[in-house]
C-alpha cells in the first residue's frame, strides 16, 4: 500500500520525514470539507454565491442563509470535532488506554446532567450558563471516574475505566431522565440538544464557545511533549524529571475546557474522541506534539463529514450528528476492544 500511494499522500504516510506537509494537507482537506458543508443543504446555493456572501455581502436571501445558518453550523461542527478529538487524544495518552474517550468515560453525560439541572432549577437558557455548568459537570465526572477507576483491581485498566464510565453514565443518565420526567418544559427545551447536534446554532454561539475551545487547544498543544513522555509510563516520566501531577492536572483542565464547551454548544457527541486519535497515531506515531494538532484537524474533518451525512441520509429530515457518530464509532470501539485489549 505504501508503494502505491501517490506523492501527495506520502506526507501522511511517511510522517517522520515531514509531518508538517501532512498538517498542511490536512488543513486543505478541512477547508474542502468546510466548503462542502456550507454548500450542501435544502436550498441549492452555488459556490460563487458562497464566495460573494463572505466577501461582498449584499443581503440577498441566499447570502443570508449562508451567513446565518450554514456557516455558523459548519464552523461549530469543526470546532466541536477538533475539541473532542484532542480531548480524546489527551485522555488516551494520559491513561495509556486505547479505549479512553470522553463519552465512554461518562464526561459528556456528566456535562449533560449539569446542563439539564441548570435548565430545570435556574431556567438557564443562555449558552454561557450552559457552558459554565457543562464545565462543572465535566470536571466532576472526570475526577470521579478517574478516581474510582484507579481504585479498581489493577488500576486504570481499560476494563476498569470502561466499566466505571458506564456506571457513571447510567447514574447521570437516570438522574437526567428523572428531571426530564418531572418537568416537561425542560424536556421540550432540551431533547434535541441532548441528542447531540450542531443544527440551528448561530454565529453568536460560535463566538461564545470559541475562546474556551481555543484556550483548551492551545494548552493541549503546549503539553504535547509532556504527554508523550507520560505515555511511556508514569515512572519513566518521573525518572525524566517530569512533575507528573502538574502535567496531569493541566491536561485535565484542558480536557474539561474542551469537552465542557463542546457539550454546551452541541450536546453529547459520541466516539469522535475515541476514533480520531487511533487514526492519527496510525499515520504519524505516538509523538503527541504531532498527534494533538493532527487530531484537531482530523476530528474537525470527521465531524464535518458526519454532519453532512446526517443531513443527507434521510433528507429532508436530518439525523442528530451525535447519533451518527455513535453508530459509526461504536463498532470501532468493539474492534479496539477485540484487538487491543488483552489481559
Amino acid at each position: 500500500m505504501r508503494k502505491s500511494a501517490s506523492p501527495s499522500v506520502r506526507g501522511f504516510i511517511q510522517p517522520r520525514s515531514s509531518p508538517f506537509i501532512g498538517l498542511i494537507l490536512g488543513l486543505l482537506i478541512l477547508i474542502l470539507c468546510l466548503v462542502a458543508s456550507v454548500a450542501y443543504g435544502a436550498a441549492d446555493i452555488s459556490f460563487s454565491t458562497i464566495y460573494a456572501a463572505l466577501t461582498s455581502f449584499d443581503g440577498s436571501t441566499e447570502q443570508l442563509i449562508i451567513r446565518t445558518v450554514r456557516l455558523p453550523r459548519s464552523l461549530i461542527a469543526m470546532l466541536v470535532g477538533a475539541a473532542l478529538a484532542v480531548a480524546g487524544a489527551i485522555l488516551q495518552g494520559l491513561t495509556r488506554n486505547p479505549l479512553a474517550d470522553p463519552s465512554i468515560l461518562g464526561l459528556q453525560s456528566g456535562a449533560a446532567l449539569a446542563v439539564v439541572v441548570a435548565v430545570f432549577l435556574f431556567g438557564a437558557s443562555s449558552l454561557n450558563t450552559y457552558a459554565g455548568f457543562a464545565f462543572l459537570g465535566t470536571g466532576v465526572a472526570a475526577v470521579l471516574v478517574y478516581f474510582f477507576a484507579s481504585l479498581g483491581r489493577g488500576g486504570l485498566t481499560p476494563l476498569n475505566l470502561t466499566i466505571v464510565g458506564a456506571a457513571f453514565t447510567y447514574l447521570a443518565g437516570s438522574l437526567t431522565t428523572a428531571i426530564l420526567i418531572v418537568s416537561q418544559r425542560t424536556l421540550d427545551e432540551i431533547r434535541f440538544w441532548l441528542a447531540g447536534s450542531v443544527a440551528g446554532r448561530d454565529f453568536t454561539l460560535f463566538l461564545q464557545v470559541l475562546p474556551y475551545i481555543v484556550v483548551g487547544l492551545v494548552v493541549a498543544f503546549a503539553l504535547g511533549r509532556q504527554i508523550t513522555t507520560l505515555n511511556l509510563g508514569e515512572d519513566v516520566a518521573k525518572g525524566l524529571g517530569q512533575r507528573t501531577a502538574w502535567v496531569k492536572a493541566i491536561a485535565a483542565l484542558a480536557v474539561v475546557l474542551l469537552v465542557g464547551s463542546s457539550v454546551a454548544v452541541a450536546g453529547p457527541i459520541w466516539f469522535i474522541g475515541l476514533v480520531v486519535p487511533h487514526i492519527v497515531r496510525f499515520f504519524i506515531g505516538v509523538d503527541y506534539r504531532w498527534v494533538l494538532p493532527y487530531a484537531a484537524i482530523v476530528g474537525a474533518i470527521l465531524l464535518l463529514i458526519a454532519d453532512i451525512g446526517a443531513r443527507l441520509l434521510i433528507a429532508p429530515q436530518e439525523l442528530p450528528v451525535g447519533v451518527m457518530t455513535a453508530i459509526v464509532g461504536a463498532p470501532f470501539f468493539i474492534y479496539l476492544a477485540r484487538s487491543k485489549v488483552t489481559r
Binding site: 465512554i104 489493577g154 466499566i163 437516570s174 428523572a178 441528542a195 453508530i327
Partner: protein, 348 residues
Amino acid sequence: MNKGWLVIRSRRSKVSFRLDRRAPAVILTLLLVTLTAMVISVGQGEYPIPPLDVLKTILGLEIDNPDYYFIVNTLRLPRTLVAYLVGVGLGISGTILQGITRNPLADPGIIGINAGASLAAVTLIVLLPSVPLFALPLSAFGGALVVALLIYLLAWDKGSSPLRLILVGVGLDAIATALITLMITFGEINSVSQALVWLAGSVYGRSWEHVVSLLPWLIVLVPLAFMMAKQLNTLNLGDDVARGLGSSVEWQRGLLLLTSVALAGASVATAGTIVFVGLIAPHLGRQLVGPTHEGLIPTAAMMGGMIVVLADLLGRMLFAPIELPCGVITAALGAPYFLYLLVRNRKR
C-alpha cells in the same frame, strides 16, 4: 471449613441440591420483609389505606369501605406485584450473568442487554402506539436476544472471553442507546414522554395484564435457572477446570446466557430499564448465603424482588405527589454501590 450445608437428595430421581444452611432462613426473612413492604406500598398513595385493611381486602375479608376493593385490587396490588416479579427476574438474570462472565461487576444493564430490549420496545411504543401489551415482552426479548447474540459473536475469538464479553457489551450498549435517542428525538412528543417514563424503569400504572404477560416467562425460566445452578458452579471455576470436569463449556454458557437474556428482556419489557438490580441482588445474596448457586439463585431472586418493591415505594414517598420512577432510585443507589464493589474487589 466449618460451613454448614444442607443436602437435599431424592432417592428416585437424580436430583440433588447442596444448599448453604443459612439459605432457608435468609430467604424466609427476605420474603417477610418484602411482604411487609408490599402491604405498606399498597396502602401508600393519595388515598391512604391502613395496613390491616389492605390485608383484609387482599384476603377478601369483610371491610367497612367498599372503595378499598377497587383501589387495592385494581390499582395498587398489580403494580406492586409487577415490581416484585421484575425484581425477581433481574436478580436471577444478574446472578447468571455474573456467574458466566466470572465478573462480579457484570449487570444486564451495563453490557447492553437492557438497552437492546429497550430499543425494541421503545421503537414499538413510538412507531406503533396502538400495539397490544403482550407484544412488548416479545419484542423486548427479541431486542435483548439480538444484542446478546451480537455480544457473543463479536467477543468470540477461539472461545468466548469474559473480559471481551463486557467490553463488547459496552460498545453495543452505545449503539442501542444512540438508536433509542433517535426514536426519542423524532417521535411524537406524547409517545416520547410515555417512552421516557417507561425507559426510566417504572411500574407506574401497571395492571393485571402486565402481571399476566410477565408471569409465564418467570414460570418457565426461574425453574430452568435453578436447575442449571450446578453448571454455574462449575463454570465459575474457570473454563479449563470446567472442561476438565466434563462440562461442555460453550453450550452451557450459551444456554445460561439465553436464560439470563430472556429474564432481563421480559423484565425490561414490563417495567423498562431498572438498572443495577441485577448487579446488587447477587452481591448481597452472596454475602448472605455464600457463592454456591443453588442457594444463591433463590436468595438473589428474593433480594431483587425486595429491592424493586422498596425502590418503588421510596420513589413515591420521596417527593410526593411527584413520583420518581423506581429505576431512578435503583440507579441512584446502585451506582455508588457498584463503585464500592469495584474498590473492594481490588484486594482479591
